[in-house]
């Protein structure tokens, strides 16, 4: 076994540990972003493939978990934008088409209130959707969110605030 093979083996053992420690929580994060199980499965797999290919470029400037969240966020948004282009190009800045998908999803267990909640989240633009999902569902600190999404804590707080207001307005309108 030459040095390169040894390094690859060491990397693979390290990477397997990373996968085991992160894949479940990443799945739930991606699932909340893309809603459909099959889509979440694709995005999760692409996230780990990208992480494996770029493992050597990971520079420990953030935690490995934040790095994976960053890749997953980009993959999820790319996936949603691709889907948006194929489904409906006139659906505004949010991902409204996800609400229809949700009703048809066999693996959605939510009641009517939860369905409405998901519909409200689906109206959020890309950045607010990411910020809201990370803060509300993943319960990330703003400092961690900066590592994942970039920008400043102030701008992330503002995005979260706008997202919450939009969701509340959605429910008032529905009444």
């Amino acid at each position: 076994m030459n040095n390169k093979d040894k390094n690859t083996t060491v990397d693979k053992v390290y990477f397997d540990t990373i996968v085991r420690e992160n894949y479940q929580k990443l799945y739930h994060y991606i699932r909340r972003m893309v809603v459909i199980h099959e889509d979440a499965d694709d995005v999760l797999q692409e996230t780990f493939i990208k992480a494996w290919r770029n493992l050597s470029s990971f520079r420990n400037e953030s935690s490995i978990s934040s790095w994976l969240y960053r890749i997953a966020s980009n993959e999820a948004i790319n996936h949603l934008n691709k889907k948006k282009r194929t489904i409906n190009t006139f659906s505004g800045e949010g991902f409204d088409f996800l609400a229809d998908n949700l009703q048809a999803d066999d693996y959605f267990d939510g009641d009517l209130a939860q369905l409405e909640f998901q519909k409200a989240i689906a109206t959020l633009p890309e950045k607010q959707r990411l910020v809201f999902t990370l803060k509300y569902f993943e319960e990330k600190k703003y400092s961690e969110m900066v590592e994942i999404l970039g920008g400043s804590e102030g701008s992330l707080k503002a995005s979260y605030h706008h997202a919450v207001q939009k969701i509340e307005r959605y429910f008032k309108k529905e009444d």
């Binding site: 690859t8 809603v35 199980h37 959605f108 939510g110 409405e116 009444d175």
Partner: protein
């Protein structure tokens, strides 16, 4: 829903994961990573290598050709012209010893040059030129070719 308050919305887990999904995912990812590795090592071992070398050879050839063409049109042609004129002047210096020599030199060697012919016609071949003057005259005639300054 009129009393909706996001902070009191506690039902967070609304998505169900199919049974056995995570185990199945782990196995599938393992296979995909293995395929990815095989593909990468195949690419680096052979399939792409000859193609890369071929690309390199083609690019190098194109650059070489361009370099040669530019060199030919700028340096080779210029130096060739310079060499011919230079040779002409050296030859003239060797052959011209008198005004008559100058005349015959013009007539035999340079009769095809319009410029020199013009100078011959406008020159009185019977006038007295010293050898040195004859050569100076020739150089002045060739001055248009930018040769004189080399002597």
């Amino acid at each position: 829903m009129s009393n909706f308050d996001i902070n009191k919305f506690n039902e967070k887990e609304t998505f169900r994961v199919p049974k056995g999904y995570f185990k199945e995912f782990e196995a599938r990812l393992e296979r995909r990573l293995q395929n990815d590795n095989d593909e990468c090592s195949n690419n680096s071992k052979g399939r792409l290598m000859p193609l890369n070398i071929l690309k390199l050879v083609v690019v190098a050839s194109v650059f070489f050709l361009i370099f040669k063409l530019v060199g030919y049109f700028t340096f080779d042609l210029a130096s060739d012209a310079y060499y011919k004129k230079n040779k002409l002047a050296i030859s003239a210096k060797e052959k011209i010893n008198s005004t008559d020599d100058l005349y015959y030199y013009y007539a035999s060697e340079m009769s095809d040059s319009d410029l020199i012919n013009h100078q011959i016609n406008s020159t009185d071949k019977n006038s007295e030129f010293s050898d040195n003057e004859a050569f100076e005259y020739l150089l002045a005639t060739l001055d248009d070719y930018d040769i004189a300054k080399h002597y």
